[in-house]
Symmetry: C2
Subunit: 409 residues, 2 copies
């Protein structure tokens, strides 16, 4: 074959890369389990209509869709939430609510690959089905703990939070057009302040609105309240989350569809990358799929941006240690196999040399695989009732009796 | 939507089912890591030619293939080995051999769904790249340990082993047609002994061959040797594996393509199901994909048959315990949140009630989620400086001071 490379936008995970990926997943699982969230999974192939019926044209263009050999219209899932909605409609009656669920699905989107954006990627999802403001706080705290546990502190990231009900009330009060206002908020950090207010001026001449948008965080929220708009939920949410990490930001809107209340996104403070994660409250999704009306909250963390930040901050693990490598010299394989069996019965990680490599090549292999210790079993040594235990970190070695090994190791 | 069910041949993994799946994967990983095998992963979407170029028409009919929006011919991977071959060709020069690698890929085949056979499934793969007979023994021992660790003993399963070189020598010596002989061997257990020998009679009149095929296991192997055919590798392999679990069986052939030497399959002894796992030595695959000629050995264990046997033998776990559920009565959520935070900092699994359910509904929820303990934080109790710790297994409860909790739990 001429071109053996994988398909554009997919990634090859050799052991070295896959270990980092698994480390990330283990972190996500650890904190999710700590919070009492339960993991689930869903198929990769779904009927096309599950994804096209409720989503806009944008997702349709991004779908990998195809027909099976019987002509059924299928697609690779581009997000998990429609599948979650399907589960609630299909199995919801037998499940005690609230559901606190998470998953780390592999997702597929046909878009132009770029740094931190792939056609095939993993995206952590956590949702509470039948939620309320406390549930929203729980999800936000879960996200903060996940980022903390990965080594990111409040100097590294900020969780920006907004309430779409507040935005909608501003729209009503100041008589701006919904789409125009949302679109402008969404672009706030993509333009200079001067440009932003020039654009705002085209939409609204209100001095009050301008003042609100000049202010940040708590001051912005206070100004909104002063103008007679109910900001109680945001205030209550601030009490339930760790203030060190959160910030009120009117420009977090997360598109027009889907979300109905509080929305949030985490960003690295230096502004190197796109958002690290994003989520919010959605009240209509389950009913859109034919189920009951249930308030929900959810978050997605893709493996695109976050690892880039971890790498930049030198927070990705660089070494994964293995334990014992059994090297062999001469005709000692059966004895080596016995020793490996005994040590593995003790749940130890034991590599048994099965190759015909000479001893120095075996030691190179053990080193390249990050083994801490090498047990060298040689034909001559064995006749004297000895084997050699070498510590690859210190370089020290000592002779030991084979029967002592299960105690020493 | 009228029909909310998933696509035919896919499975929905709600937390209850996914826990069992994860338990199976954890077992596979545990033993593979013990043996010093390293995990890797590969993309789900591949270029179609990677799968069609070297495989026969059979796999082509079973592929989910499609074009992307730029007209590129793609497919969902139906097996992992072509991707492994691609890795070796693409990255092999930088990797010290032998490679001992495993993976638990999600695979896709368009075939008729039936019990234990899905269109979307997981299949554990372990391979040694640059292997020899000791490597084959290591893979077989790895498989035996995996089955043992899942609770299956020698009364439950047998590892049937054959050597295709021996079969080929029989073909040459007794002048039978390769395809006819392979096909007959493959069907041996699907027909009665009488039928089998009637069919054999059509292919060969040799009394020696008939005698060989009447015998089993070691006796069969001895008879082959007696007729002047070299059986050294099989004999050597028997020394390197645990005899309790293995059996020589001429009828294990694993199709015409792909394998070149030793082949093996594990079966449940009662014959309830198809094979539990299968693998063997393959020497030409890497070179078929344009790489060097490297002897390899590999095994595949799909999540179709094995869980069916584990279920029948009552070896699947039935309960996964959670630790602490914090229930709340009245306006105590902020205090409950503080306590949850402290206990989670100790790495404990702590569910925090965020719902407005009454206390008896909360206890029902805790019970249904298999929590061992419930901490009940009530408004009145809290004023007295007390909370209630209830053991859901014994039903016993006691009052404790909130500040004592990090020590008690």
């Amino acid at each position: 074959m001429n071109n053996m490379q994988g398909y554009r936008g997919t990634r090859d995970f050799l052991p070295k890369e896959w270990k980092i990926q698994k480390w990330l997943f283990a972190n996500l699982r650890e904190i999710s389990n700590q919070y009492g969230f339960e993991e689930y999974e869903a198929p990769i192939i779904e009927k096309l209509e599950l994804f096209t019926k409720k989503s806009g044209d944008e997702i349709k263009k991004q779908l990998f869709n195809f027909k099976d050999k019987s002509g059924r219209e299928l697609c690779l899932r581009a997000e998990l939430t429609p599948q979650l909605a399907r589960y609630i409609v299909q199995y919801g009656k037998g499940l005690k609510k609230p559901l606190k669920w998470y998953s780390i699905p592999r997702l597929f989107r046909y878009e132009r690959p770029q740094k931190g954006r792939y056609r095939e990627f993993f995206q952590y999802n956590a949702d509470i089905i039948d939620s309320n403001l406390k549930g929203t706080a729980e999800i936000i705290n879960l996200c903060i703990d996940i980022l903390n546990n990965l080594g990111l502190k409040s100097k590294d990231f900020v969780m920006k939070i907004n309430d779409r009900e507040v935005v909608d009330k501003l729209i009503k009060k100041y008589k701006v057009k919904t789409e125009e206002f949302y679109s402008l908020l969404d672009k706030k950090y993509k333009m200079s302040e001067k440009e932003f207010f020039k654009e705002l001026d085209k939409i609204s001449k209100s001095k009050e609105l301008k003042k609100i948008l000049k202010l940040k965080d708590k001051e912005c929220l206070a100004e909104i309240k002063k103008n007679g708009i109910n900001t109680e939920r945001m205030e209550e949410l601030f009490k339930l989350c760790d203030e060190e990490f959160i910030e009120f930001d009117l420009s977090i809107v997360r598109g027009l569809a889907y979300y109905t209340g509080i929305v949030f996104e985490a960003y690295d403070k230096k502004g190197y990358f796109r958002s690290l994660l994003g989520g919010g409250e959605y009240d209509n999704l389950i009913s859109d799929f034919g189920g009951p009306k249930i308030p929900c909250v959810g978050v997605g963390i893709s493996d695109g941006t976050l690892p880039l930040l971890l790498k930049k901050k030198k927070l990705l693990p660089t070494e994964f240690k293995n334990y014992l490598f059994i090297a062999t010299i001469g005709e000692v394989y059966e004895k080596a196999g016995e020793i490996a069996k005994e040590l593995r019965a003790k749940r130890l990680n034991v590599y048994l040399n099965t190759s015909d490599l000479n001893i120095s090549k075996q030691l190179e292999l053990a080193d390249s695989l990050n083994y801490q210790k090498v047990l060298i079993i040689g034909e001559r040594d064995l006749k004297k009732g000895e084997v050699t235990l070498k510590d690859l970190e210190t370089g020290k070695e000592k002779k030991v009796k084979p029967q002592e090994l299960t105690e020493i190791l």
